[in-house]
């Protein structure tokens, strides 16, 4: 089976923007996987053509709370093509797997099909048939009867209560309540965000195939090694027996990092049937088959002096979780570090409701947290009559107010300055409703964002092959963020070849290991691992050239040699000049291979397993002497129709500090993607629940609105970062999640400036403004 094969050279023809320096780290090389994707040549997980493939379709609960009384499958068994009907009674028993911290699981069986119903849309049965159509038709014949009990619909449900205090989220210094009570200026407001969904283009799905006790899973994955561990633990087989294959991913946004119930169903079906089984969620199922962003409520209280200098911040947050699962969306994460304050208090509760357990969605925690604090500081600015940009500078945190450590780098002041200049902020008139164009009220808003630098570990193999080309292998993944491309650039620059001559292979858990592609950590981790492996391969190559008696350089008695453009020469140019291929031939080698990793030197095999299959070993962003974060400032113009209440974003200028950019073109694309997603969050996105049924009714892409091209203006993104070697081997900080943080409050602030109406509940739909 061909996993993946991409040559950079095939992709860059005709793209003038690539330029001569594109192939090194920091160059604007176009995505090397782009042509395969846009021509359809890229084969996604469930597109594998396997002999004997059978098709599974899920049946889901239609109540939000209660018990399955009975499942009548009589009609299903007789339907054409049906191979198997899986119910809690017929499906094989699995073991409970450990969580993503690697916490040892309770010794009890796990069944991915539910008898006890805790949300509408829970998997209760599955039908496997010879064709997809037969499986769909048969699944509609499954009759499930229930004993229904009252459900807790959402956070506003009277039965929801105050929830469970999460002590680990409590952050306090000084005496925030007392300082607030004595502050001359006080504001207090509540900010709400709804359920939001990742809505990747590629729905979740997989093909599972067993050969003896070896399981192969083709599945879009942000974390091959973590998901392989879960499958292995479910089925009680060694970790090495599970192979995850995921060369391409059609969008994840946090939703494809974990093995989920539907994966267990498909793997069970394949094992029971002795045939490979494909299961793909329908679009409606993707709204309940796994969790989107939890709905949140925050209260932000700020005490300040009359000059707008913050004296106290008191923050209280709650997020929803499921009846039997725990999801904490850290709502105080930005609140505690964005501004200098001598007194601070943040606490958080989690409330159980009848929904699927919420999950990670682009900047979990930071995103809703910023909506609270960045709206509140804007309210404070109007309260004291200071420009919203100026008040942010007056309260600029010169060090991490929470950890009391120096920032590794914080180019936020630069971001404010550059963004304001490019946007023309100085021309803003401060009064709400003071700028208009006909029926359009114009508003300008600003907000900041941040995301911590999460550091973990990665491994890679770099091979220099007989023809002088270079091959990189890693079980890390590329879901569109550019891993293939930046690893090619890293290997090319380090070894001294063209990126055209580098082949990067990713997305196979049998390759050297990598941790989760989440928390914006993968690029920093993997460029480091590839850099180290490539240095090691280069050392071997130069070592051979100097020391092997058959080498043309042997007589030169050199200490070192230079490798560039695929050729080897002495530093002074006074000796032979041969290609890598020629050298390898002369010394009788068909390849050179080196591994590299970013783990601590004394890591054990157990450490290694934990590093790559859990998130327990990741380094805190405040480890050592520094506090490490990416930063950004968004300047946004909106036009609000005064009669209709419709909000259109007409201009975005964002300045961002992600440290050194491994590839500015790809980083800019990710930033823009985050900003677009933030526009959707601000204006459109909301999972709407029928309160009688506890069910999301807009569970499709016609009714759950994400932005179209027509909703998005030109977006200007400006990098203000500098290399941050405290954050990564090559100096980069996180990119992927940063840019969504702060977009929604910048838009809400702009809407206030346009209309004089402060909207504290997302999304800002038209009925809130008319």
């Amino acid at each position: 089976m061909t996993v993946h094969n991409i040559r950079v050279g095939e992709s860059k023809r005709g793209d003038a923007s690539d330029g001569a320096l594109a192939q090194t780290v920091g160059g604007r090389l176009s995505r090397v996987d782009g042509p395969a994707k846009i021509t359809g040549a890229a084969k996604y997980a469930v597109e594998q053509q396997l002999e004997g493939l059978a098709y599974a379709v899920l049946v889901e609960s239609t109540i939000a709370s209660g018990k399955v009384r009975a499942i009548d499958t009589t009609a299903v068994q007789a339907a054409p093509g049906v191979l198997q009907v899986l119910t809690p009674e017929t499906i094989i028993s699995l073991k409970t797997a450990s969580d993503w911290f690697g916490t040892p699981p309770p010794d009890k069986p796990y069944c991915p099909l539910a008898r006890d119903i805790t949300f509408s849309g829970q998997h209760v049965a599955a039908v496997v048939a010879e064709t997809f159509e037969q499986a769909v038709a048969a699944a509609a014949l499954v009759k499930v009867s229930y004993d229904e009990t009252p459900s807790i619909v959402d956070l506003s449900d009277g039965k929801a209560g105050d929830g469970i205090p999460i002590d680990a989220m409590t952050k306090e210094w000084g005496d925030a309540q007392a300082a607030f009570a004595s502050a001359p200026v006080r504001i207090c407001a509540a900010y709400n965000t709804p359920r939001e969904y990742q809505a990747p283009m590629e729905p979740h799905g997989l093909i599972a195939r067993w050969e003896g006790d070896q399981l192969t899973v083709w599945e879009p994955s942000q974390w091959l090694d973590g998901m392989a561990r879960t499958y292995a633990e479910w089925f009680g087989v060694p970790f090495e027996n599970v192979r995850l294959v995921s060369p391409y991913i059609g969008g994840g946004f946090g939703s494809k990092a974990l093995a989920l119930g539907h994966g267990a169903v498909a793997a069970c079906a394949a094992k029971m049937l002795g045939r490979p089984v494909r299961l793909v969620m329908t679009r409606p199922q993707t709204f309940t088959g796994y969790g989107g962003r939890a709905a949140t409520r925050q209260t932000v209280t700020i005490g300040a002096d009359t000059q707008g200098k913050i004296q106290s911040i008191v923050h209280r947050g709650i997020n929803e979780t499921s009846i039997d699962g725990m999801w904490v969306e850290p709502l105080g994460s930005v609140t505690s570090i964005m501004y200098a304050t001598p007194n601070f208090s943040s606490k958080q509760n989690v409330v159980r409701v009848n929904s699927v357990v919420p999950g990670a969605m682009r900047a979990p925690g930071e995103n809703p947290s910023a909506f609270g604090i960045e709206s509140a500081i804007d309210e404070l600015a109007y309260e004291v009559g200071i420009d919203p940009l100026e008040i942010r500078l007056r309260n600029y945190a010169e060090q991490d107010p929470e950890a009391k450590k120096a920032w590794s780098t914080r180019q936020l002041r630069e971001a404010f300055a550059v963004g304001a200049e490019r946007f023309g902020w100085a021309r803003r008139t401060p009064e709400p409703r003071s700028m208009r164009d006909g029926n359009q009220l114009i508003g300008w808003g600003v907000a900041a964002g941040t995301y911590p630098v999460r550091r973990a570990y990665g491994e890679a193999i770099v091979r220099i092959l007989a023809d002088g080309s270079v091959e990189v292998e890693s079980s890390s993944i590329d879901m569109g963020q550019g891993t293939y491309t930046i690893l090619a650039q890293t290997a090319a620059e380090t070894v001294g070849v063209h990126a055209d001559d580098v082949v990067v292979k990713l997305g196979d858990s049998h390759f050297p290991r990598a941790g989760v592609a989440g928390g914006s950590r993968l690029a920093g981790v993997m460029t480091g691992a590839v850099y180290k492996a490539a240095i090691s391969a280069l050392d071997q190559l130069v070592g051979l050239a100097i020391s092997d008696p058959r080498s043309p350089f042997h007589a030169l008695q050199a200490n070192t040699l230079v490798v560039a453009n695929g050729r080897i020469a002495s530093p002074r140019g006074d000796g032979p000049d041969v290609s890598i291929a020629e050298l390898l031939k002369s010394v009788g080698r068909d390849h050179i291979e080196a591994t590299g990793d970013t783990m601590p030197a004394n890591s054990t095999a157990e450490d290694r397993y934990k590093n790559y299959t859990t998130i327990a070993m990741a380094l805190p962003h405040t480890e050592g002497d520094y506090s490490r974060h990416s930063w950004c400032a968004h300047f946004i113009e909106v036009r609000v129709d005064e009669d209709f209440g419709t909000v259109r974003v007409s201009r975005v200028v964002s300045a961002l500090d992600s440290g050194r950019l491994y590839n500015p073109k790809l980083a800019e694309s990710q930033w823009k993607g985050g900003i677009i997603m933030g526009i959707g969050q601000a204006l459109l996105e909301e999972g709407i629940v029928d309160r009688r049924h506890g069910r999301i009714v807009n569970n499709n892409l016609a009714d759950y609105l994400v932005p179209t091209n027509a909703d998005i203006p030109d977006i200007e993104v400006i990098s203000v970062g500098i290399p941050d070697l405290h954050s990564s081997v090559l100096g980069g900080k996180g990119v992927g999640e940063l840019a969504i943080v702060g977009v929604a409050p910048a838009i809400a602030n702009a809407v206030f400036h346009a209309t004089g109406k402060r909207i504290r509940d997302l999304p800002i739909t038209l009925e809130k403004l008319i």
Binding site: V136, A140, H693, T765, L766
Partner: protein, 327 residues
Amino acid sequence: MRDFSYLRANSLDAARQAAALPGAMLLAGGTTLIDLAKCGVAEPETLVDITHLEGLDKIEVSERGVIIGALARMGHVADHAGIRSRFPAVSEALWQAASAQIRNMATIGGNLMQRTRCPYFRDPANFSACNKREPGSGCSAIGGVTRGHAVLGTSDACIAMYPGDLAVALVAFDATVHLGERQVSVDDFFLLPGSTPNREHAIEPGEMITAIEIPGSAAARRSTYLKIRDRQSYEFAAASAAVGIEFEADGRTIRDLRVALGGVATKPWRARAVEAALIGKVWEPDTVRAASLLAVEGAVDHGANHYKIELAPRVVARAILKMGETV
């Protein structure tokens, strides 16, 4: 989706005969039918493919007006020079409907047969009560999520909104639907839900839409379609208005006015009260705004859709004002 048989009609008569079979449905662009089959609402036993019938995709403009064949694609009609110059509201309504991909597939006849987006109607697995699907089963929408439901033309049995754009412009300009020999006005073609929301169109088994005819008029020539929604593209209307206007020789007195609403009613909604209040009057912003309030006479909200009652008159007023300003 269950198994069905597929017939390709090679003549209009054959198509009509096949369409009269129990459980038969006509397949043209398929953009609605396939969607509804996937979500379990449409369960045809026989699909009669009419896309190969010849001569049904013509657009014929004459002095009297325009006749648009039932199989003309939305995209072609939207871009047709004669439609754009003589019926701008029709072209604009089509341009603002659906997406480019859907407009390239969907036909004009099929567009008239588009069904509601009511989420309860579209999810039979989870919501068994729907009088539109199963007469007498009840209405899940009443008391549920109603942000997108109708405020005009509703009944105790159904509050589902008619979601289309084109027919709003058609009803404003007195278009007729050709059902072979029989012709019926677009206004009469769409039925109010009353106690039979399952019956949406005045079309009998064995009948087939062959064309739409729109009479030419000065008001149609000076017309627009204004569609308001949260998302700029690919969303159904929160409220929309098709408006056409004709002035007397003085350029200020309204001789003829056509107003129809979309996004707020159970069918394409002609706002005759607004027309009557303004015909013969001098075009003047305050007069227009006051008269536009009549657009939602008799409106009944169900909570979350109350904003439509506020919004619709503003949309009507803006459209009438825009048509007056371009004198």
